[in-house]
Symmetry: C2
DNA sequence: CTGTTAGCGCATTCAG
DNA sequence: CTGAATGCGCTAACAG
C-alpha cells in the first residue's frame, strides 16, 4: 500500500503536488499532473480516507438511529434519507437500537468522537435533555416535534392526525372508539394518547383506558387485538390502528374471529403503505419518503454551513377514505 | 476540543499514560489513572476516532450493499446482519445501490480507501471479475454461490429451491408451470431460469419463455401478473412467485380478476414472510435472518484473523405447504 | 509502572 | 505553478 510520499517520489514531484491532483486543485502543470496520475495507476495507489477525515474533521457520514430495521415505517423513512444522501455523496451509518437507551447514546458518542458528521433520530428512548448537549458536537435531527431546543426536527403532527381520525369516526356515528398502537411510551405514543382523550372529550364523548392496546408493531401482532376485544365488557365500534400492516393483519383475520369490517368494527390504519391500498383500508397518509429526504437535507445544510441553526419543519397528513371506516 | 496532549498536561502525566487508560491497558498506577480520568471529565475530552482509525488501519465498520432498502427480503437480511454486528460492536454502513454498477464499485473503493473493514454484498450488478480484485483490500462476502474465488459466500441454493418447488407442483398434477420473478438478470434470476427449464425437462415436461414474467418486486407489482396471464394463449396452472409480498398481492386481488387460488391457478411464494403465514400461502422458507447473521460472523472472522481465507456456507431451505398449492 | 519519540497518511500554509 | 515544513490526534515501540 503506497502512500502519498511514494507517489511523489515515483512521479518526481512533491507530496503537495500529489495532494493537489488528488483534490483536483487548479494550478498544476499538465505534465506533472500526468506524471502523478501515472504513478497512481502503476503503484495502485489508494488514498487513506482516515487521514483525510482526521485532517478535515469530517467523515461525510451521517448516522441514522432507528429502533427496528425490519419495519416498513422506518424503511420508508430510511429510503427517503438514503435517496437524499446519495445526492450529496454522503454515507449512512445504520444504527439499530431497539429503543435501548445506551445504544442511542453510543451513537451520539460517535458524533462526539468525530466518527460521523450528524445524527438523525427516527425514534428514541433517551430523553431530550440527554440528547441536546450532544448538539455541541454536530447537528442532530429528530423525527418528532421538538420545541425550543438546539435540535432540528422534521415531523408530522401525531396529535393532529389522531384528532382528525377520531373526528372522522365520530362524524360517522361512532361513539365507542379505541386504538391499538405500536408503542405508547414514547413521544408519538404520548401525543396520541392525549389526542385520544382530548378529542373525544371535546366532541362530548370520552376515551377509556381499556380501549387502548399497546404493543402492536407488525402484522402478526394484530392477533393480539381479538382476545383483547373479546375480553371487554363494552367494545369499541371503531379502532385506530397505527401501522397499516397491523391493520391489514386485523382485517384479514377478522372474519375467523367473528368480526366484519366495517359493520362490526371500523378501522383506520396509518402510513398509507401499499398494502392499505390493496386491501382498501382507510388510512392516514404521511409522506414518509419526503420526511426522510428533508431530514437529510436539513442535516446536510447544518453540516456544510456551521452557522446554520437548527430548523423545524412540519409535514401535512391526509386522511384517505377507503372501505374500512 | 482538547486533545490527548492537553489531558496529559492537565493530569500531570505523559500522553502514553493517557493513551493507556483510554485503552484500558494494565500497568497504570491507580493514582495516575484517577488523575487522567478526572482531567478527561473536567475538560470534556473525547477521543478523535479518525486518528485511531488512521493508526490502526481499521474502522470497526462494515458496509452492506443492497439494491433496495424498502424491501422485506433485504431488510430481514439486514436485521440478521445488524444483530450479529452488535455483538462485536461493529458499525454498519448502509449502501443502497439500486443495482447501479458504479455505486457498487464506489463502495468497494471505500474498502480500498480503508473507510471500511469489509463488505457484504446482498445482491449485485457488477461482475465477479470486477469485484474479486478488491478482496486484496479486505474481506468481501456475497449472498450467492461463489465458487473458487477470493470471496466468501453465504447463500441458499436458488436452483435447488426452484427445483423442489417445481417438483412439488408437478407431483400435484400441474404440467403448465410458470414463474414471476423480481429480477431475471442477476445471479439468482439466472439460476432460477435454468432450474425452471432443467427441472421440467427432467420430469418429462417443458418450460416456456412466455410463462416467465420479470420485474415483480413488491406487492403492487402483482397487478402486472393478471394482464400477462390473460394475454397468454395457453395459461400456466401454477405459478412460482419469488417474494411472498408479490404472492400476497396476487392472492388478494385474484378474485376480482376472475381467478380462484388454487383451483384456477396454484401459487408458491418465497421467503416465508409473516404475510404468507397469515394468508396461508405455500412458500419456501429460507432463513434470512440466519443468513445475515452468518454473513457478518464470517466477515468479522476474516477481519480479525487475516490469515483466515474466504469461506462458503450453504443454507437449507424448506417448502412449507399451506393452502395455495 | 512511566515518559520520550517516532510515525500513521494527508492537507495546507507559506515561501519561493 | 511548486516544494518544504508543520500538524491533525493518537498509538506503540523503546528505553528507562
Amino acid at each position: 500500500m503506497p502512500n502519498i510520499k511514494q507517489i511523489a517520489k515515483a512521479a518526481g514531484v512533491s507530496v503537495s503536488t500529489v495532494s493537489r491532483v488528488l483534490n483536483q486543485h487548479p494550478y498544476v502543470s499538465e505534465a506533472k499532473r500526468r506524471a502523478v496520475e501515472d504513478a497512481i495507476e502503476h503503484l495502485k495507489y489508494a488514498r487513506n480516507m482516515n487521514a483525510v477525515h482526521l485532517i478535515k474533521g469530517r467523515t461525510q457520514t451521517v448516522a441514522v438511529i432507528l429502533p427496528h430495521i425490519n419495519h416498513p415505517y422506518f424503511m420508508r423513512l430510511m429510503e427517503g434519507i438514503a435517496g437524499e444522501a446519495l445526492k450529496y455523496n454522503y454515507q449512512l451509518m445504520l444504527c439499530q437500537t431497539a429503543y435501548n437507551h445506551d445504544e442511542e447514546l453510543k451513537v451520539l458518542d460517535m458524533l462526539k468522537n468525530k466518527q460521523i458528521d450528524g445524527v438523525i433520530i427516527s425514534s428514541r428512548s433517551a430523553s431530550l435533555d440527554q440528547i441536546e448537549p450532544y448538539s455541541a458536537y454536530g447537528p442532530i435531527l429528530l423525527c418528532e416535534d421538538v420545541k425550543d431546543r438546539l435540535l432540528s426536527s422534521v415531523y408530522f403532527d401525531h396529535y393532529l392526525s389522531f384528532q382528525s381520525a377520531i373526528t372522522f369516526l365520530w362524524e360517522k356515528g361512532h361513539r365507542n372508539i379505541g386504538f391499538a398502537v405500536n408503542r405508547l411510551n414514547n413521544s408519538s405514543g404520548r401525543k396520541r394518547l392525549s389526542a385520544y382523550y382530548d378529542t373525544l372529550k371535546a366532541l362530548g364523548g370520552s376515551g377509556r383506558a381499556e380501549w387502548v392496546l399497546d404493543g402492536c408493531r407488525d402484522m402478526k401482532d394484530s392477533a393480539a387485538i381479538f382476545p383483547w376485544l373479546h375480553s371487554l365488557d363494552e367494545r369499541p365500534t371503531a379502532l385506530l390502528i397505527t401501522g397499516d400492516e397491523v391493520a391489514a393483519g386485523f382485517l384479514l383475520t377478522a372474519p375467523e374471529h367473528g368480526f366484519r369490517v366495517p359493520e362490526d368494527i371500523a378501522i383506520i390504519g396509518f402510513d398509507n403503505q401499499p398494502i392499505s391500498e390493496l386491501l382498501g383500508i382507510t388510512t392516514i397518509d404521511i409522506q414518509l419518503n419526503d420526511i426522510g429526504a428533508r431530514a437529510f437535507a436539513i442535516i446536510y445544510k447544518q453540516i456544510t454551513n456551521r452557522a446554520e441553526g437548527p430548523s423545524v419543519e412540519r409535514f401535512q397528513f391526509k386522511l384517505i377514505e377507503r372501505g374500512t371506516a
